[in-house]
């Protein structure tokens, strides 16, 4: 048995962002097992050391230090959130370790010059917003009320929503917020209702999106509810029950993989990944698990081709990941773009009879 290749992973397995870190961690553990069972990389098993950052920047910094100093990893995947990613960027940059973040924030990879070592796999939030707005434009919706969670996730969604609205001729007539542990959002929704909005957009993850859905239903608001790309979990439909009917969201194809045509280049990957994951963890990986999938697979592919060398891994990812089908979409990395995805990676999906349906 040859010497293993060590890869570091930092995920928010616990704490406020555990909805991200949990499937990410699961995904990575599963993949490692599969890859090693298949003989590893040219005989080298891979070893992924997963550290829990507890959704906390200080912990992320410590974890990064540990992975680099103690474990001498070849690359780092994660962290799960933008804040944690930002906090460790100086460290990985200084140590010259390639990092593929699983967080969406644009500032993680921009400006690319300063983010020489940094990549990310999730789509930009703006892409999800563009997908929603494009669809709304088609439907003739001109005024929207937005309601966002007051976490980094909700906040970056909110910024994108506000920023892009004029480009699509949309006016944001109400801009409401709520806390991650709030139990009732009726007040905010009632205000949106009174503002004359023609649609509500909720940007959150976790129980908040279900509560908003229920409150929206109870209030009989009479206008459609749009959710963010965080909505893509069957559990949400279960929890919200009949209230979820008619809710629309831009979702990664991972959620609706079975409804894709067989010719779609992502379909085989998604099928294998989702079915394996479901078999092992009895739950869906969702969009977020997919981010870790893509990140790890990029590193693995680089290792296969260039071997255990941090600089070469980085260069490979930047230049050779082209038309590369992942779970999040078809990646096209380049020295100008360290993310490589755009809004075409989303599908607009509606909840019908307790299931997803792709909107054309």
């Amino acid at each position: 048995c040859k010497e293993p290749y060590k890869i570091g992973a930092i995920f928010s397995v616990t704490g406020a962002a555990s909805f991200l870190g949990e499937p990410e961690k699961n995904t990575v553990l599963m993949l490692v097992e599969q890859i090693n069972k298949a003989g590893g990389i040219k005989g080298h098993p891979i070893e992924v050391i997963v550290e829990d950052s507890k959704s906390d920047e200080t912990q992320a910094v410590l974890a990064a230090k540990k992975l680099i100093e103690k474990d001498k990893v070849l690359a780092i995947i994660g962290p799960s959130t933008t804040g944690e990613s930002m906090a460790i960027i100086p460290i990985v940059t200084e140590a010259k370790v390639p990092m593929i973040s699983c967080a969406a924030g644009a500032s993680i990879t921009l400006p690319v010059k300063e983010r020489y070592w940094i990549f990310k796999t999730p789509q930009y939030d703006t892409s999800a917003v563009e997908a929603i707005y494009t669809y709304m434009k088609k439907k003739g919706i001109k005024k929207v009320g937005i309601i966002t969670i007051s976490t980094a996730f909700g906040d970056s969604g909110r910024k994108a929503l506000l920023e892009l609205a004029p480009k699509f001729g949309i006016q944001v007539v109400a801009d409401e917020r709520y806390g991650p542990k709030d139990t009732d959002m009726t007040a905010q929704l009632a205000k949106i209702k009174a503002s004359g909005a023609e649609a509500v957009i909720n940007w959150s993850v976790g129980p908040g999106q279900v509560i908003v859905t229920k409150n929206w239903y109870d209030l009989k608001m009479g206008i459609p509810l749009y959710q963010s790309h965080g909505w893509g979990s069957k559990r949400n439909i279960e929890l919200a029950g009949k209230a979820a009917e008619g809710v629309i969201a831009p979702l990664g194809r991972i959620v609706v993989w079975d409804k894709l045509p067989d010719t779609h280049p992502q379909k085989p990957i998604l099928k294998k990944y989702v079915t394996d994951y479901m078999a092992r963890y009895k739950s869906e990986p969702g969009t977020f698990g997919g981010h870790a999938y893509d990140a790890l697979m990029m590193v693995v592919e680089a290792l296969k081709n260039v071997g255990p060398d941090r600089k070469k891994i980085r260069d490979y990812i930047e230049t050779k990941i082209k038309k590369w089908p992942g779970t999040g979409g078809i990646f096209n990395m380049s020295p100008e773009d360290h993310c490589g995805l755009d809004m075409t990676s989303f599908e607009m999906v509606i909840v019908k009879n307790g299931d997803w349906e792709i909107l054309k």
Binding site: A16, V61, I68, M86, A87, I89, S150, S156
Partner: protein
Amino acid sequence: MKKDNALTIFVFSLLILIFPLIYKDTYLLTIGIFIGINALVAIGLTILMGYAGQISIGQAGFYGIGAYVSAILSLYFGLPVLLSMLLAIVVACIVSIFIAIPALRLKGHYLAVATLGFGEIVYLILNEWGPGGPSGFGDIPRISLFGYTFTTSYEYFYFVWSIVIIVMIFSFNLINSMTGKALKAIHGSETASATVGINIVKLKIKVFILSAFYASMAGAIYAHYVTFLSPSSFSLFYSVMVLMMVVVGGISNLWGGVVGAFIITILPELLRGFKELDVLVYGIILTIALLFVRKGFVPLILEGYRRWLQK
């Protein structure tokens, strides 16, 4: 400072000095830096709680003000880092006066909630109006002294711990002075303190400012070390952890803050091996530690030391 305190601090300083020379591991140094930062906040709270008897669950507020103000001043207004740190501390101290005057009329659980409320308000404001909102902001300049910029963990380690040692010396002097006795007196009986001529309100406010001073200084160092800030580092959770440090270390001794910061900071690192179960194990260890060590680790260590001497 009493003689044995002086000796302890001297030995301690030596240890701090040689530690990085033996362990050239920047991971350990980084932990050391965070211990130092937390210790600063904890020392302030030890004086406030252990000596003046005023509880606070809002130290994260001052910590956050120190961090944010210093970061904003240096990043967006281009002030030299040391100057912005200083100004941040001044701001935190001024805020603390405004909080202290009304809050110190309260006592016990009521004071606890008022300080908790203050801390949460700071957090919520940072979340709403801080640069970057909940996502935070980065690229904060690093500390530079006379044109020399600190970049390595070594430099930060020595910088933080020199400050901790200065703070310890100052604090020991203070609590061993008449002021310290007056503080303990207030703790013992406010009525009696008033009738022997102690201006309770003024003294309490001063200690409150002192604790805000230490906390904001720690916050400023944090900002310029990590170079990225987001509100989540300054939430109620941090205040509670500082409180935990003080209690675990031992509330009646200044070293308690340092030892508590050490224990509470390093514990999660030690528990990394437990993966999923770490929260559970963490909870169990904390509970057991509190149940069996009661007065905190420092008195326990002192007691052990005394026994050992007697042998």
